[in-house]
């Protein structure tokens, strides 16, 4: 199904991609029942723990666009997670040699009276102040449950501003109650950028790669790899400028480190402006980076150069990888990550010689915006061995129960607040917070040694586990981990 940029907001993933947050079975079962036009039903839970909010995901991308501002039309609590975004901002600016500056965000402080009389006036005041105070190149107006339910006419407020605010002011529809899939917030952010910032191409930039990512820690590595193909990366959205975003329609190709993240913008740029989107598995591990680089090279006609590059990278790391595999041989793991990483890391851990006993995915998109099943899950399911697989929006009581049963050597997680529950069970937790962990051949080597280091001295977690209390009853640990997941209606 094509992306429709004429809509005022991106439809949520449940509607657009058949995304689910409740499933328990096996990898092969999930893939076979959600492929070839089939659709698997979502299962709800009668007990749940907190999940995450679309607005946080939208703001994590938008708040770090260097010369934009956000007006968060919401009660103050919705701006609570901007503290985290500001940490990312401080780090990002530090590593790019920029001064210490806070993110540019105003919260409209929706209060009880606004839920009765509406918050339009406050929103207007907030936008005017954001313009006066920050002189940004664009203002994003992010929405909230409260603004959504009271029905403030955000577009009306924006269009009444007229010349008073002579820059793009763009609504970002990211109310938390609309979707259980927080990644819907990424799409909301990209939709806003695509409809409010990106301009039709004035020229083509045949060397430019739109590199869709989060923090961009591997900038130098990627710049070097792309340089060998005569290409130049532009890292988006965080730490890009509004001007840089205006011209992403002129790029030669769009690539992403996370296919959950990249689907919407990659597909939209391809459909709208003919910028090819690389639809390979993500660039983690050997198979990942090689497929990904080949995908990029194919889009720009550099097939010869890429084989030479791959051969070099492989040769530079082959001995280390053999050594790592020898040392990690027989180790077992459970992983809990967002879908792109959960799928991709099934391959990564296999390359490191680690056996995955169970994989949990924070949601599952049955197909991406370009209509196909995620490539990494197809690849993982193509292996001979099947593995138990669950989908849950970071439902840690299920993970804790599962970990206590299968007792793996390692718990690999992604997203804040998950690894700790492995640690409290005495299981060595290796969180994958940096999106470029295990990126490329060299990243895989680094990751391998990081795991070896983590296993070398386990005192922190083993001693912790003996001395902390877990939140759950004994009864719960005796139940099936998925007993609060409703039975599938087939």
């Amino acid at each position: 199904m094509a992306i429709n940029l004429n809509l005022s907001e991106a439809p949520i993933r449940e509607a657009r991609l058949g995304a689910i947050t409740g499933y328990n079975g096996t990898l092969k079962d999930l893939v076979s029942r959600s492929g070839c036009g089939a659709t698997i039903n979502n299962c709800e839970r009668s007990f749940s723990q907190t999940s995450s909010c679309s607005s946080g995901c939208a703001q994590t991308l938008l708040a770090n666009i260097v010369d934009a501002a956000i007006v968060n039309h919401a009660p103050i609590g919705c701006a609570g997670d901007t503290i985290y975004h500001n940490i990312a901002n401080h780090y990002g600016r530090f590593y790019r040699g920029q001064d210490n500056r806070n993110i540019q965000l105003i919260n409209t402080n929706i209060e009880e009276s606004d839920t009765v009389f509406g918050g339009a006036e406050k929103l207007r005041a907030g936008i005017l102040e954001a313009w006066r105070r920050f002189k940004p190149k664009a203002i994003f107006v992010s929405t909230s449950c409260a603004s959504g339910i009271i029905g403030d006419d955000i577009k009306g407020v924006i269009s009444d501003l007229g010349e008073e605010v002579p820059i793009p002011v763009i609504p970002v529809s990211c109310e938390g109650f609309r979707s259980k899939v927080w990644a819907s917030g990424f799409d909301a952010a990209f939709h806003a950028v695509l409809t409010g910032i990106v301009k039709p191409p004035r020229r083509s930039q045949p060397n430019l790669v739109n590199m869709v990512n989060f923090r961009g820690s591997a900038r130098e590595y990627i710049t070097r790899l792309f340089g060998r193909l005569g290409l130049e990366p532009r890292f988006i959205l965080p730490f890009a400028s509004v001007e840089e975003l205006e011209t992403i329609s002129e790029a030669a190709v769009t690539a992403t480190v996370c296919t959950t993240l990249g689907s919407y913008i990659g597909t939209a740029l391809e459909e709208q402006y003919g910028v090819p989107y690389v639809k390979t598995i993500p660039p983690h591990g050997v198979a990942g980076i090689e497929a990904w680089l080949r995908g990029i090279a194919a889009a720009v006609g550099k097939q010869g150069e890429v084989e030479e590059l791959i051969a070099e990278e492989r040769a530079a790391t082959v001995d280390d990888l053999a050594e790592i595999r020898r040392r990690l041989d027989g180790k077992t793991a459970v992983l809990g990550m967002g879908p792109s990483y959960a799928q991709s890391y099934l391959g990564v851990l296999e390359e490191l010689g680690i056996t995955v006993l169970h994989a949990a995915s924070w949601h599952y998109d049955q197909r991406y915006d370009y209509g196909e099943q995620p490539p990494a899950i197809l690849r993982a399911a193509g292996r001979e061995e099947d593995v138990t697989f669950s989908v849950g929006d970071q439902q840690l009581f299920e993970i804790g129960n599962k970990l206590s049963r299968v007792k793996p050597d390692l718990y690999f997680s992604r997203h804040p607040g998950s690894s700790v529950w492995g640690a409290k069970l005495g299981i060595t937790a290796v969180p994958v917070i940096d999106e470029y962990t295990a990126f490329g051949h060299r990243g895989l080597v680094n990751f391998g040694y990081r795991i070896i280091d983590a296993l070398t001295n386990r005192h922190f977690v083993t001693k912790l586990a003996e001395r902390v209390t877990l939140p759950y009853t004994t009864w719960w640990f005796e139940q099936d981990p998925y007993s609060f997941l409703e039975q599938e209606v087939i």
Binding site: S52, N86, E112, I149
Partner: protein, 445 residues
């Protein structure tokens, strides 16, 4: 009339209630709200609160009904009942507190009826409606205490004449609440008074249950916890007094003398404690004096924080460090009466050391208003408060850089260091604050 706020320095009512429950050992929240509310609140607490992560029942494992569009249309009461029932099975706790978010409060779920059904069965479940739009962390703290006082604390217990309850120190909003309260407990215990502090990791729900035994409540704030203490008096007949947070030797001595007088503690006992504590402070401050005076480390103080900290820190730097408080920005959302109470408190600082006080929630406007004050100074050298030192939150680092001032963060949010058992209360807390601000002045050496 309320207005927009740049990067708020507090959480919403839900967040304030959530962190208070999380700080109570063996209490668990059941959040009836949208999927991300508890996670966002947890993130704000963990990342802004000096990395206070999951204790036992909280963090990203917080039970939450995660209601979405369907419940907005059909109501979320059934889902809540199901969630409470399951939580009682899955989560091992003594107290289950249902708190609500914007969504559920706007759609008007009758959460009290749902919870009452469980209460009738004798389950330890309480409920507070804490929709985020109702106010900030303080409001949430008061809502939660309302629920605890009316629905959990036992009524009609015999009084203990040297037991006190402590209110007004909000978890996370006071990033050092654990260290501060533990030191308070230690000091009061030294003069023979037992204190219920409720929200440290060494308190338990039994002390909460039996809190009506206290002879007195002490509210360590002119604004936070006032409602809780007043309600406690109304429901459980425990009177209360209001004090400021005692940071450093001078304030702590004044505080302990008042408490000792109220409880008829012998002056011999009191003076012995004061002497020991004072000795601890000066035995360490004494050898720091070479540096302090050689380098002329007296500073003009710019203090930014909530009402508790803005006053307590200003008072400490005035009374004990011998600095010159110039400017204090109170970042709470306060009504006129509350503002008057805070101003009255500042008026107790002798005039030559009394800072200009503003009430401002918004980071950029704090800067604007400080610079407007500096403009008025008409200083021919253009440096009316040089050298200055900013004691605020992490959000005030850029301001300190603009002033070419020293900087130390003690107010929420604190993201550039971890906080465990540190605190600023008492003599030892004052010593810590002196150590930290002077360390900040030599940190580039």
């Amino acid at each position: 009339m309320s207005t927009f706020i740049e990067r708020p320095r507090y959480q919403c009512a839900l967040g304030g209630a959530l962190v208070t429950i999380n700080a109570i050992e063996r209490a668990v929240a059941i959040v009836h709200a949208s999927p991300g509310c508890a996670a966002a609140a947890d993130g704000a607490a963990a990342f802004g609160g000096g990395y206070w992560g999951s204790t036992v029942h909280d963090g990203r494992a917080t039970p939450s009904s995660n209601i979405v569009e369907r419940e907005v249309i059909f109501g979320g009461e059934e889902r809540l009942a199901e969630q409470i029932s399951a939580t009682l099975d899955v989560v091992d706790a003594d107290l289950y507190a249902v708190i609500t978010g914007c969504m559920t409060d706007i759609i008007g779920d009758d959460v009290r009826s749902v919870v009452n059904e469980f209460r009738r069965q004798g389950k330890p479940v309480i409920v507070a409606e804490t929709g985020g739009f109702k106010g900030n962390s303080t409001v949430g703290y008061e809502f939660l205490w309302d629920a605890l006082i009316n629905q959990f604390v036992s009524k009609g217990l015999p009084k203990k004449d040297r037991l006190v309850n402590i209110f007004g120190v909000l978890p996370v909003q006071d990033v050092f609440w654990r260290g501060n309260l533990l030191e308070l407990k230690r000091l009061l215990s030294a003069i023979g008074i037992e204190a219920n502090t409720f929200v440290t990791p060494f308190d338990d729900t039994a002390s909460l249950k039996n809190a009506s035994q206290a002879a007195l409540s002490i509210v360590l704030s002119d604004v936070h916890g006032q409602k809780a203490a007043a309600l406690f008096e109304e429901v459980h007949g425990v009177p209360y007094i209001t004090e400021s947070l005692p940071f450093g030797p001078t304030a702590t001595e004044r505080f302990l003398r008042r408490i000792a007088e109220l409880f008829n503690i012998s002056s011999a006992k009191l003076n012995r404690v004061l002497k020991e504590e004072r000795r601890h402070y000066y035995q360490f401050i004494n050898p720091l004096t070479d540096l302090f005076t050689d380098q002329d480390f007296q500073r003009f103080g710019v203090v930014i924080g909530n009402a508790n900290y803005a006053y307590a820190v200003s008072r400490f730097i005035a009374d004990d460090l011998g600095w010159i408080p110039y400017f204090a920005a109170i970042t709470d959302i306060l009504d006129e009466q509350q503002q008057a109470a805070v101003l009255a408190r500042f008026a107790t600082i002798p005039e030559q050391a009394r800072p200009k006080v503003i009430f401002e929630t918004d980071t950029s406007r704090i800067r604007e208003r400080l610079f407007a004050e500096l403009e008025k100074e008409n200083d021919p050298y253009g440096t009316p408060i040089s050298p200055a030192f900013v004691i605020g939150s992490n959000l005030d680092r850029p301001l300190a850089a603009d002033l070419k001032a020293g900087f130390w963060g003690v107010s929420y949010p604190i993201t550039n260091r971890v906080v465990t058992d540190q605190g600023y209360l008492g003599y030892r807390g004052g010593l810590r604050l002196a150590t930290e601000v002077v360390s900040a002045l030599v940190s580039n050496r």
